[in-house]
């Protein structure tokens, strides 16, 4: 039955290729994208999410072209499946309104889902790599449809880099073991295995946009279609972390690294890289004026936390990292979709050109507001529990560099959150002629916000869901009930926070209700009743160069970044290629001379 799901997804992908109407294609894709969800729910019976069961098999061997592809679902794959596949139906719902015509989003998105499904189920390295490349190819086509040269080139080159690194790693592992099955691979602490592990982690880090391998993300995120970017940031970036988890913990990579270096230095470096990603990504985010680029840098920052968790490697840290991955999948998808909805109505991306959208699109604003609470880890959503676990882990391991960097990066998240809230949604009302986003878009966004609220109150359910993945990897779990998480250092009771908030709200609520107010357009207030039009030439929206003072201080330090390094490399490659091209003059006598010289060299070498 498992092969049926693959077939159905591929058939749906093929069918939508020929459907011109975007609405029809969206409906087909929506139905098809429910198949992996159903599979995940079915497998949930074994891993802690009991809803219903129709007896789907858990493993499959698929012989093709002389080799056998091994598929089986593990607890780890299941958890990442929950994170990724539940994103897709709401995104498809959003796309129903977003795409008038089917220009290729739906078929390649379905193909991408097939590839992701394959990666999660793969139980040998070859199958993993095969589907990894299918994923890279189909996502490349989706990036290509953005028709931006920089985005296409950077995505292609980094995908190739990722593929080369992973393939080299697989080859090294094969040379040591003679087998590619996860269950048969035995790691030993020698140079070859260690370099294989490091290469593969670097390859996976490209996908999860970890600094300094992040340079593709801002270009790609700002140019491709929004529903795809939502999935790219929310879903696909987690595939990199799936690979990392696989290498480090499901296969005992972390232990091997520790044995080989005789200390935790390698994983410490991973954690440090994650923390620096979080920090620099945040600083870059609040100086950005393009909404999509801001969200891209914010993605880099938020994904950095997951690497910190994996790097620290204690059960607390990994629980926090997986929780953060889950939260990020949902809130960042909502933010990208909200950005898409705003652009759908206004056609603008620059924060300094937007403003006052919330008065006309209140539901989009609410969805974005909740995801911003999650992003900034404010304890009104589940975003806090994840970061809290990570901080606890870092402090209890006495990581004196990483903890402050993580915390200050999280404070920085308030800065760019407010940039989004004020610059796009509040302030001067510049868009009187727009209306709320279409119902499917709003519904899609609210469906994605729901988990953030559920796991605020019951973070224990989330910890239950990742329980078997952690136990299988031999990591151990954090002690918790449904709503209390206890670590060795402190405990966090979500019910106390929620009930406390209700009690604390009483005075404010009484003040709010007992004193009547009347609503007045804000223009009447500070213009003292004068007509707004006579001030038409004055901008009432302080969104241009919003963080100028701090930018002036920080920019000199940030100018020499990784992106400028890659650009220098790119330009140097261009110059070299231009020089090389001079050989091809297009004159036949020149080529004849080349051949003659070549033959002379060969002859000279033979004689000598």
């Amino acid at each position: 039955m498992l092969e049926l799901i693959f077939t159905a997804l591929l058939v749906a992908s093929f069918v939508t290729l020929f459907v011109k109407n975007g609405r029809v294609a969206a409906v087909i894709s929506l139905i098809a994208s429910l198949l992996p969800v159903a599979a995940i729910i079915d497998w949930g019976n074994e891993f802690g999410l009991k809803i219903f069961s129709f007896g789907l098999e858990k493993s499959m061997d698929f012989p093709i072209a002389g080799i056998t592809m091994h598929f089986s679902v593990t607890a780890l794959a299941w958890f990442f499946g929950v994170m990724i596949f539940f994103l897709i139906p709401p995104i498809m719902l959003f796309s129903y309104s977003f795409f008038e015509k089917n220009r290729g989003f739906f078929p390649f998105m379905l193909f991408l889902i097939t590839a992701v499904f394959g990666i999660l189920l793969a139980s040998d390295f070859l199958t993993l790599f095969f589907f990894w490349e299918l994923m890279a190819a189909s996502s490349f086509i989706l990036v290509y449809m953005g028709r931006d040269r920089k985005a296409i080139i950077s995505y292609l080159s980094f995908s190739v880099l990722s593929a080369v690194l992973i393939l080299t790693g697989i080859a090294l592992i094969y040379s040591q073991n003679g087998t590619l099955l996860f269950s048969n691979v035995a790691f030993s602490a020698d140079e070859v295995t260690v370099s294989a592990i490091i290469l593969m982690i670097a390859g996976f880090a490209v996908k999860s946009a970890l600094m300094p391998l992040h340079a593709w993300a801002p270009f790609v995120y700002s140019k491709a279609d929004e529903p795809f970017v939502a999935f790219l940031s929310g879903g696909l970036s987690k595939m990199g972390y799936y690979g990392m988890f696989l290498m480090l913990f499901a296969l005992p990579g972390a232990k091997i690294l520790q044995q080989y270096f005789d200390s935790t230095v390698a994983t410490y470096i991973l954690a440090l890289i994650g923390a620096i990603s979080a920090f620099i990504g945040t600083l870059l985010a609040f100086m950005e004026d393009d909404l999509r680029k801001l969200l891209a840098y914010s993605s880099i920052a938020q994904l950095g936390y997951i690497a910190v968790g994996f790097g620290i490697g204690s059960s607390l840290a990994i629980t926090g990292a997986l929780f953060q991955a889950f939260n990020h999948a949902f809130f960042k998808s909502v933010l990208f979709l909200a950005a898409g909805a705003v652009a759908y109505r206004t056609g603008k991306w620059k924060i300094s050109e937007l403003g006052g959208v919330a008065y006309k699109m209140p539901f989009t604003f609410m969805a974005a507001l909740f995801s911003i609470f999650a992003l900034a880890a404010i304890p009104i959503t589940s975003g806090f529990a994840a970061k809290w676990l990570l901080y606890e882990a870092a402090v209890s391991n006495k990581y004196i560099f990483i903890t402050p960097i993580m915390l200050i990066a999280s404070v920085g998240a308030f800065l760019y959150s407010f940039r989004i809230l004020y610059g796009v949604f509040l302030g001067e009302n510049r868009h009187d002629d727009i209306k709320e986003a279409p119902l499917p878009m709003v519904a899609g966004m609210f469906l994605l916000v729901m988990p953030l609220i559920i796991f605020l109150i019951f973070p224990g359910y989330m910890l239950d869901m990742m329980h078997s993945a952690l136990v299988n990897a031999g990591i151990g779990t954090v002690s918790h009930t449904n709503y209390v998480i206890s670590t060795g250092m402190a405990s966090y009771n979500t019910i106390a926070v929620v009930v406390g908030m209700m009690i604390a709200m009483i005075p404010a609520f009484l003040i709010y209700v007992l004193r009547k107010h009347r609503n007045i357009d804000f223009k009447d207030n500070f213009l003292a009743g004068e007509p707004y039009e006579i001030y038409g030439h004055i901008s009432m929206h302080a969104a241009n160069n919003f963080y100028k003072p701090i930018e002036d201080v920080l920019m000199p330090y940030l100018r020499r970044g990784a992106t400028s390094f890659y650009m220098a490399l790119y330009n140097a490659m261009g110059r070299v290629s231009k020089t090389v091209r001079r050989i091809y003059t297009g004159l036949s006598q020149d080529y004849a001379i080349y051949v003659a010289v070549f033959l002379l060299i060969i002859m000279g070498w033979l004689i000598w």
Partner: protein, 314 residues
């Protein structure tokens, strides 16, 4: 059930007292600054008069539901924060969360305030919020470093636990924490938005910044929020470095009263110190404040953190 009701009653009592203390402190603050400036100043109960006036105004103006969030979030958030801080050794909900939770709970009122200011549409309000957020980024770095130093030393992140562990000796008596407390006190100056860090509300530059457009019940509740922040931040400092003001441990009625009195005196001391600095310094520019915190303060904080780290691992 009875336990639960008693707990609610204690919570209500302590938060009410905390808010009243905060309002009183606003009056005391104005008096102290006035005396330093050689003025007479308003009476110490001026805060009560102001808030009562604002909350009983008949004309209240709103600019939509996002503007009202400022009222709801700011007051709710600050009261919620106070619930998680031990006051005079009484842990209201202090065992249910920890210092990280308090740091993030403090963001709820700030964000609500920022939302309301943004929805008021006044560019000055937005600039004020920008300054407040940049200040937050600035002072949080040295502050969290000192907090991490405490957490590593006491091997717990729960504030209630840290207060408990300071029974024998307050943290400020341990050499590295003297340095840390000095750093945290300057961070406190920024948190309380007192000069030289009164940049966000700078009345002569940006018309009081975020509250430019607030009036009536909205401004009244924001003043309550301001009163709450004075208590919350000074209590946080006292809990972290001065043992929460706990001097008697026998659990008798008298000990509650004595501990409460000591807590009151300590936060008054901390607040007065902050006011004296406020009264004698002009205002920094925002980038100067940022550099001050990230260069000198962060360096000193980090020295204390490394010091503590070396003490702990040896």
């Amino acid at each position: 059930m009875v336990d639960f009701l008693i707990k609610i009653a204690v919570i209500a009592l302590y938060t009410t007292i905390a808010m009243l203390v905060g309002i009183l402190f606003m009056g005391i603050g104005r008096k102290i600054v006035a005396r330093v400036h050689n003025r007479v100043g308003p009476p110490v109960y001026q805060g009560f008069i102001d808030i009562a006036k604002l909350l009983t105004k008949k004309t209240n103006i709103s600019h939509g539901w996002i503007y009202d969030l400022a009222l709801l979030f700011s007051l709710t958030g600050i009261i919620l924060t106070i619930l998680f801080l031990p006051i005079g050794g009484v842990k209201l909900l202090g065992t249910e969360g920890d210092a990280f939770l308090v740091l993030y709970l403090l963001a709820i009122p700030a964000l609500g305030f920022a939302l309301g200011a943004g929805a008021s549409g006044n560019p000055n309000a937005a600039i004020g919020v920008m300054r407040a957020l940049v200040m937050m980024l600035s002072y949080e770095l040295p502050f969290v470093i000192t907090m991490i130093a405490l957490m590593i030393y006491y091997d717990t992140s729960s504030i209630a636990q840290i207060v408990e562990l300071q029974r024998a000796r307050w943290a400020i008596m341990i050499p590295p924490f003297m340095l840390a407390a000095a750093v945290a006190d300057m961070a406190l100056q920024g948190m309380l938005m007192e000069a030289p860090f009164d940049i966000p509300t700078a009345p002569h530059e940006i018309a009081s910044g975020p509250m430019a457009e607030f009036g009536g019940k909205h401004l009244g509740s924001l003043m309550l929020y301001k009163a709450g922040t004075i208590v919350a931040y000074t209590t946080l400092f006292v809990d972290l470095f001065l043992g929460g003001g706990v001097v008697m441990h026998d659990g008798s009625i008298l000990s509650y009263i004595v501990n409460f009195a000591v807590w009151f005196l300590l936060i008054l001391l901390i607040f007065t110190l902050s006011l004296l600095i406020n009264a004698s310094f002009p205002r920094f520019r925002i980038e100067q404040a940022f550099k001050f915190y990230w260069k000198y303060e962060a360096l000193l904080a980090f020295i204390s953190l490394i010091w503590v780290y070396l003490m702990v691992i040896s």
